[in-house]
């Protein structure tokens, strides 16, 4: 039976981590170790079931060893097609885990995986799911698999966790601007990326050798493909949509702050008028008017929730990051093509 060792964070720094990874993490998980089997299963799941729909999801199983999270197996979730999806899900999960325990597979939940479309995964749903996972199991991660980037030549698998600050905020469920200001969360501090390492056991290595021996050398060098405009177009389209959302949100916030300042002004004026009147009345010898409760007269406007803005900003950041990575790769390829042509002409 796989037992979880209690891991205490061993770092001494308290640096806040940015989502670009690297540097010291002050969280209980420093590195993720994935078995080759899990990688293959995730790829296969998307390939077979994910062509039409938005995302495919599944559960990761494994164990925690010191400051490493080892993921040893996974199983996919069926799609949400029927209405009784909720009940089915829990039952499905329970049955799967029970069955897997019979064949000695680690049945410890350590996270979940999701496929993404051009990198658009920062959403409310993801946040909620990851929060509930991380709340229950401290070391859990969400693995994001990008099939489109993978088909361009290199496996794109990233692991994310929520930063402790974001966990605090989610616990309070307090998304007003003041709370966020207190916690000092920027869109860069929402998720932290954990480095991934792939490991294979000896037997699997032998299997791999056998595969290579038997299969033809159909080495598709997709990575060196020069055509990039399609991918760029799509990414930019998504980026533009997000920026539109962002600007709408900003307009909302601006109107809110304008309303707030107008209201404070009104309150101020009201209080002043009251005082003036009172002075006048006193001078005329009449009793002063009672101080009315101002807050009842002027209801403060509802502050808009800032969580959506944070999410949109995080998403835009992610898109930009992906686009830049893509363009840098393409620039390299273009220069290589130039060198090749230079030799010929």
């Amino acid at each position: 039976m796989a037992s979880r060792k209690d891991s205490t964070s061993t770092t001494t720094t308290t640096a806040v981590v940015s989502s670009s990874g690297g540097g010291t993490l002050d969280s209980p998980v420093r590195q993720i170790q994935i078995e080759g089997l899990v990688v293959l299963k995730i790829i296969k799941h998307y390939q077979e079931e994910g062509q039409g729909s938005e995302v495919v999801q599944g559960v990761l199983l494994g164990l925690v060893v010191e400051d490493r999270l080892e993921i040893t197996n996974c199983f996919p979730f069926p799609q949400h097609t029927e209405d009784d999806a909720d009940f089915d899900e829990v039952q499905y999960q329970m049955e799967m885990m029970r069955s897997l325990r019979h064949v000695n597979i680690d049945h410890l939940h350590v996270g979940w995986y999701q496929s993404t479309f051009y990198g658009s995964f920062v959403s409310r749903a993801l946040l909620d799911s990851q929060f509930s996972y991380q709340h229950a199991i401290e070391e859990s991660v969400v693995l994001i698999y990008d099939p489109i980037k993978t088909s361009q030549g290199s496996l794109s698998l990233k692991a994310y966790r929520l930063t402790p600050e974001l966990m605090e905020i989610c616990k309070e469920k307090d998304f007003t601007p003041e709370a966020l200001k207190k916690a000092n969360i920027g869109f860069e501090h929402m998720f932290e990326e954990v480095p991934i390492v792939i490991k294979n056991s000896h037997l699997i290595s032998v299997l791999m050798w056998e595969l290579e021996d038997k299969s033809t050398v159909a080495d598709k060098h997709e990575l060196l493909n020069l055509s990039s405009s399609n991918h760029l177009e799509k990414s930019l389209q998504l980026l533009m949509d997000r920026v539109d959302d962002m600007s709408q949100d900003i307009v909302k916030y601006n109107t809110y702050s304008r309303n707030l300042s107008k209201q404070t002004q009104q309150k101020h004026q009201y209080v002043q008028r009251r005082q003036q009147e009172n002075v006048q009345r006193l001078s005329r010898g009449e009793p002063p008017l009672a101080e009315e409760d101002i807050s009842k007269l002027f209801k403060p406007p509802q502050p808009p929730p800032r969580m959506d803005t944070l999410l949109i900003a995080g998403q835009i950041n992610n898109y930009c990051h992906n686009v830049k990575e893509f363009t840098s790769q393409n620039l390299g390829k273009l220069f290589m093509a130039e060198a090749l042509q230079g030799h010929n002409s």
Binding site: G36, L37, V39, L40, I43, K44, Y46, E48, N73, F77, P78, Y92, E95, M96, S99, H102, V103, N104, T150, S151, G153, S154, L155, P177, L180, G186, F187, P195, I196, I198, K199, N200, S201, L203, I204, W209, E210, L211, K214, H221, E222, L223, L224, L236, M246, I250, Y253, R306, T309, I316, N317, C320, K324, E325, Q329, L331, G332, L334, A337, S345
Partner: protein
């Protein structure tokens, strides 16, 4: 059902799964068995998934937990409704008498099941992966036996699977059998160096042939001709303009994304004032 053609196609995830369940077998169990799932087309069988089934085996009897197998199949069917039971697998080199019994169990589930053996004990120095179909033999009416006829095994991949398997192959090289995921330009550099290696091999072969050391092979010569002709001859100015416009596009996009990032960072600061 129709007789299958002589080849069975297997996806790498099946092999990895089998290896993993062998490693996790119970104490005292010599081999592991499980169900194979996949799709059947007109003349070919494709095995895309599998799961292991607990079983007990001793000298005289064998017990397979068929309830478990049925349950697992139902669960798997909910995720991928197009997969059906194709057959079963067992680790180990030979086919024993117990295999015949188990094969009978599976004949009830699927028509003409396929039996796959994976030699995890590496008895012959290599890992032998073989597939069999059962065929009746003997005198009809009297003693009827079952013979396992071998089929050839082919590995097929989806594109993304190919890339995943490539990455896994590279874990064989490092002593700790681990490999981090690289990013950005280092990937392009890796790809370029691989192409370079291939070109070097081809060049050494050509030089051998030219200096008389190696024999000239016509088909290889034809491939080389194709290779050289594939590089398109574009005039220098045309290529310049194409290259420059592409580079300009990419630079513009980089500039825009940097600008956007600066914008949202600024917005953040203003809001949190």
């Amino acid at each position: 059902m129709s007789v299958y053609g002589p080849a069975v196609k297997i996806h790498p995830v099946v092999l990895a799964s089998i290896g993993d369940s062998y490693e996790r077998r119970n104490e005292g169990a010599v081999r592991v068995i499980g169900t194979l799932l996949g799709t059947i087309e007109k003349h070919s069988v494709e095995i895309t998934n599998c799961f292991s089934v607990p079983h007990n085996e001793s000298e005289d009897e064998v017990a397979v937990d068929m309830e478990f197998a049925k349950n697992m199949y139902e669960l798997h069917k909910r995720v991928s409704p197009s997969e059906v039971i194709i057959g079963w697998y067992a680790t180990g080199f030979d086919i024993t008498e117990h295999s015949v019994l188990i094969h009978e169990y599976y004949s009830r589930e699927a028509t003409n099941p396929i039996h796959l053996t994976v030699d995890t004990a590496l008895q012959s120095g290599k890992m032998n992966i073989r597939a069999y179909v059962s065929a009746q033999m003997g005198v009809p009416g009297k003693t009827v036996g079952v013979m396992f006829t071998p089929l050839s095994v082919k590995y097929i991949y989806y594109d993304t699977e190919r890339i995943g398997v490539d990455l896994l192959q590279r874990t064989r090289v490092t002593p700790s059998r681990t490999k981090g995921l690289t990013s950005d330009l280092s990937q392009v550099a890796g790809s370029a160096s691989r192409v370079q290696d291939m070109l070097t091999t081809v060049l050494t072969y050509i030089e051998d042939v030219l200096s008389g050391k190696g024999t000239a092979d016509n088909s290889v010569g034809r491939f080389l001709m194709d290779l050289i002709n594939k590089v398109p001859t574009i005039s220098a100015e045309d290529f310049e303009t194409m290259l420059n416009s592409n580079i300009n596009d990419l630079l513009m996009v980089t500039y825009l994304s940097n600008l956007t990032q600066a914008q949202i960072a600024l917005n953040e600061k203003l809001v949190l004032l």
